[in-house]
Symmetry: C2
Subunit: 128 residues, 2 copies
DNA sequence: ATCGGTGCAAATCCTTTGCATTTCC
DNA sequence: GGAAATGCAAAGGATTTGCACCGAT
């Protein structure tokens, strides 16, 4: 089930490439639909289904992160960080933190990825 | 937006009561559908829509937690803790940890709730 | 020629919602 | 009595999937 390096099963398609590149450059946390809209500029014929398929695989490969807030969003940057999600405007902010300390506490299994979510009202919304 | 003690707007219905009691007693992390199936024993006519409505309100009141893993699950226990989610069997384990330390790092807004997820393979699955 | 990936559209699944009815204060 | 909650069924939205076709090895 694990991808075998010797097998040339997985292809790097332009679609996959464009999606990953977009997520790398984007300093936001787009939804699948937003990714689709964005990559359509480069690949006008790309379908939403393909975007979903590629996002799923990129997550499984660990190249991107899936953020499960009120809406599902995606994030490049597999470095250790959390997310603050504003209940008001639904904006997502990156929060740098060290997950290693947390992972140490886990005994029930081997941790592959760690995600931290903070929910609240962001400063911008509080000021209004 | 905060529930006003003087207003008698919110009713404590048997449905709400049964749902909350079930979550309190259950030492698992049920999905909405599982909650529905469970409470049907006490309230045979309860609808899935009502379960969703009540779960949503209980989350907003802070009485229960919504766990957004691969599937959405619910959890009583508002004490500070995280969840380990097994990629293989999808079992959810409680991980006790102190969120306060994490919350201190957040500058972008006031944190109301904090959730920590660990993904990996649990010991049970690894042994097989 | 083959086999994985794609586009398209239909199907599926989860959750929300409208509305008539019931329930509780 | 009247607001709020319910049950039911329909609607909505996000994601997945089946299938014929395309493209790279």
């Amino acid at each position: 089930m694990v991808t075998n390096k010797n097998s040339n099963r997985k292809r790097i398609t332009p679609q996959r490439q464009v999606i990953l590149n977009y997520l790398k450059k984007a300093d936001c946390h787009p939804t699948a639909k937003e990714v689709h809209t964005a990559v359509e500029e480069d690949l006008p014929r790309i379908s939403l289904g393909t975007v979903y398929r590629n996002l799923k695989e990129l997550v499984e490969e660990g190249k991107i992160q899936k953020i499960a807030g009120e809406e599902v969003r995606y994030d490049w940057n597999n470095s250790s960080h959390g997310h603050f999600i504003c209940k008001e405007c639904e904006e997502v902010y990156d929060i740098s933190l060290n997950c290693e300390d947390l992972i140490e506490k886990v005994q029930v299994g081997e941790v592959e990825t760690c995600q931290v979510y903070f929910y609240g009202i962001c400063e911008d919304c509080k000021d209004n």
